[in-house]
């Protein structure tokens, strides 16, 4: 009987909350706001993380870069022939790519050089190659993402674009089309040209490449092959897709962790307010406790009633706040807050946040809000409960 929940006590607690509308309304309002903000941040990170992880799966399994004096340099093309000899390697492709700074609009384009006859390391590129013939006679062509086209059109380039070579001369490249919109996250700022055009624009050697991509037949062998490559070429940096995944999780854990660390301060401030609010009693409340004790309520009963009160307030705010952030993030796609994570670049991708239902996030927010709220009310409740009946009523 001791452990059963007393329904009348809950009813009393609800009425007691409603009796002090103004005071409790303020608490609930601020609490909902805090929970809403916290949950939204976690929802956004989860969605972006999910989006990136699916992107990582389509990225190359191993990337080999040449490192010289701690900086990345162009790698020799003939490394490809050595790497293909390693057991378990399915395919090796050298890549040429880089960034081109377009000063007029103040943006960086990612430029990728492709050759028609080579095996493509990315499915989306394969499609492009099939749709557009990159080399038509001597004129060079380029295929670009939707964002790039928009920026160029705004700067009055609608048929061709003049790249500036390192020596200051111009390289004219004609437009040949744009990418499909469904690859926006990865290709918004991308320009695809032929390898020859790329080398022409950036004045790069014929037998050099930016980095080398290795495909492995059995995904479980990736780390083994990566260590073999490192042994053969000690001057390289070997990046596997798992490395990328781990660093993504770290980056986003770090971002939301930093946010949380800042958030704690506001949470802490809030609890000081709660502590203060629930300690200060009006004479009416004091009389109420006095009457309750006079009609036979024990200290334990008052404590229990106060516990129900704070539990009802905190779980109501929790449910309401989480519900609100569901609507905000997944229906309205989190205006404003999304920018914290996606940055402010002009060529910023605008993508939809995929719906990820993660129970752990809900638990996480629950542990941060409800127990700490109840914790903040423990000592004030005890103070109230141990008031002397005769002193208060007198």
């Amino acid at each position: 009987m001791k452990n059963k929940i007393n329904i009348y006590l809950i009813e009393y607690a609800i009425n007691s909350i409603l009796r002090q509308k103004a005071k409790n309304f303020f608490i609930v309002f601020v609490f909902i706001l805090l929970i809403f903000l916290l949950t939204s941040i976690f929802f956004i990170t989860n969605s972006i993380k999910y989006e990136l992880e699916t992107t990582v799966d389509s990225l190359p399994q191993i990337i080999v870069q040449k490192i010289k004096a701690g900086r990345q340099y162009d790698i020799d093309e003939n490394v490809v022939d050595q790497l293909i000899k390693i057991e378990g390697v399915k395919d090796v492709v050298s890549r040429v790519w880089g960034y081109y700074y377009f000063a007029n609009a103040g943006v960086n384009f990612s430029i990728v050089g492709l050759n028609e006859y080579e095996n493509q390391y990315k499915n989306s590129f394969k499609k492009i190659i099939q749709n557009v013939e990159l080399e038509k006679g001597n004129t060079s062509f380029m295929v670009m993402g939707q964002g790039v086209q928009k920026v160029l059109n705004e700067n009055y380039y609608d048929k061709y674009f003049n790249f500036i070579r390192p020596n200051g001369t111009l390289k004219k490249v004609n437009f040949a089309g744009t990418f499909d919109a469904d690859t926006e996250l990865e290709s918004n700022d991308v320009i695809v040209v032929s390898k020859d055009t790329f080398r022409d624009i950036f004045d790069m050697d014929e037998n050099k490449a930016t980095d080398i991509v290795v495909k492995v037949s059995n995904p479980k062998e990736i780390s083994m092959i990566a260590s073999k490559i490192k042994l053969i070429y000690p001057d390289t940096r070997v990046i596997t897709s798992d490395d990328l995944k781990v660093s993504y999780q770290n980056i986003f854990d770090y971002k939301s962790g930093v946010f949380l660390a800042i958030f704690i301060i506001s949470l802490f401030t809030f609890f000081i307010i709660i502590y203060d609010k629930s300690s200060g009693l009006t004479s009416e409340e004091k009389r109420e406790i006095g009457i309750l004790k006079a009609i036979g309520w024990k200290i334990d009963d008052v404590l229990k009633e106060k516990f129900y009160e704070s539990f009802i307030i905190s779980s109501f705010s929790y449910i309401f706040g989480v519900g609100l952030s569901f609507i905000y993030v997944y229906i309205f796609h989190a205006p404003l807050l999304q920018n914290i994570f996606t940055g402010y670049s002009q060529l910023k991708t605008s993508f939809e946040l995929p719906f990820i239902f993660d129970i752990q996030t809900l638990f996480l927010v629950f542990f941060l809000s409800v127990p700490s709220y109840i914790g903040a009310t423990i000592i004030p409740s005890w103070r109230i409960a141990t008031l002397e009946a005769d002193e208060v009523i007198r």
Binding site: L303, P371, I374
Partner: protein, 319 residues
């Protein structure tokens, strides 16, 4: 140190715990030294009031601690994605020298806090509060264990190195491993199973005979036999894989989180079994604890036994 939101949340709650536990600890010492139920002094009156605060703080810590423990395991599972080589919580626990002790302390403290609550509930039933001195004395002891747990938790989270390679559960829980756990793999399976079922039978017999202390001992032994048989035998049927013995992996979604159910049943069963020896229940519900203990232990036995039986029905062979 990994600054992940989950770990931060756990550490924040730890901080709140320490704050309240210290208050409770100081009050406990005062009450333990100065309590005199017969005196009518002002001091005794004040102590009585403070005992309510102490009790509610300890209750609060326990109520938050239970779900937080599950969340802790959940977090370890998630961290296993980041740490190289770890596939489940076992690898993360093994990643630092503190992991295994932290785990032992966490489980032990759950039992102690639960025990404290039962004494407390018994105590406030009487007007004279006969156990008050005892329960606060016990809390002084629990406090130190609890602080050790929190320090270990801090040490563990701050010393985890994500670049260091750790062992996965497949190697930790195998007969070839050199750790102390490998001893149980050398026990004959049939022998271990007969000990396990025999142990449960003893619990039932002692329940019928109402032999308090034998019942407690049988329950303590049941924790050990249950966990070792789970690692050696039943686990392999949950995974349907003869080589996988990990006691953590079935906490993951691939096995429908069945581990949480398994361990909860085992905890409730043995907990109520053990406290029968330490708390004098008031008349009327004297055998209630016995009953709860036997029922939950029985459910545990049924649950883990179902896995091999269903496997046999489906496939017609034993692993």
């Amino acid at each position: 140190m990994i600054l992940s939101p989950e770990i931060l949340a756990i550490l924040i709650l730890d901080f709140i715990f320490i704050f309240f536990a210290i208050i409770a600890f100081i009050l406990s010492i005062k009450i333990f030294l100065g309590w005199d139920a017969n005196s009518t002094t002002k001091k005794q009156y004040r102590l009585e009031k403070q005992s309510f605060l102490t009790a509610i703080i300890i209750k609060y810590i326990f109520i938050v601690k239970v779900p937080l423990f599950l969340f802790f395991i959940f977090t370890l599972d998630k961290m296993s994605n980041v740490i190289i080589g770890a596939m489940c919580a076992a690898g993360v626990v093994d990643a630092t020298p503190y992991g295994i002790y932290l785990f032992i302390f966490k489980i032990m403290n759950l039992y102690f806090f639960g025990y404290w609550l039962v004494i407390h509930n018994e105590d406030i039933k009487y007007e004279t509060q006969p156990y008050t001195r005892l329960k606060f004395g016990i809390f002084i002891g629990i406090f130190f264990l609890f602080i050790v747990e929190l320090i270990l938790e801090w040490l563990m989270f701050s010393s985890i190195n994500i670049d260091k390679m750790v062992s996965c559960c497949g190697t930790l829980y195998s007969s070839s491993s050199t750790s102390s756990i490998s001893i149980i793999f050398h026990i004959n399976k049939t022998l271990l199973l007969s000990i396990f079922y025999g142990n449960f039978l003893f619990i039932y017999i002692f329940y019928l005979l109402r032999k308090k202390y034998l019942f407690v001992i049988a329950n303590i032994l049941f924790i050990l036999t249950a966990i070792s048989s789970l690692i050696v035998f039943f686990g392999t049927y949950i995974y349907e894989l003869p080589t996988h013995h990990c006691p953590f992996c079935f906490l993951q979604s691939d096995y429908y989180y069945v581990g949480y159910l398994i361990y909860t049943l085992l905890f409730i069963g043995t907990f109520y079994g053990i406290i029968t020896g330490f708390v004098e229940k008031s008349k009327g519900n004297k055998i209630e604890n016995y009953k709860i203990s036997v029922i939950f232990n029985f459910l545990y036995v049924i649950l883990v036994s179902l896995y091999p039986i269903i496997f046999y029905i489906k496939n017609g062979v034993w692993l």
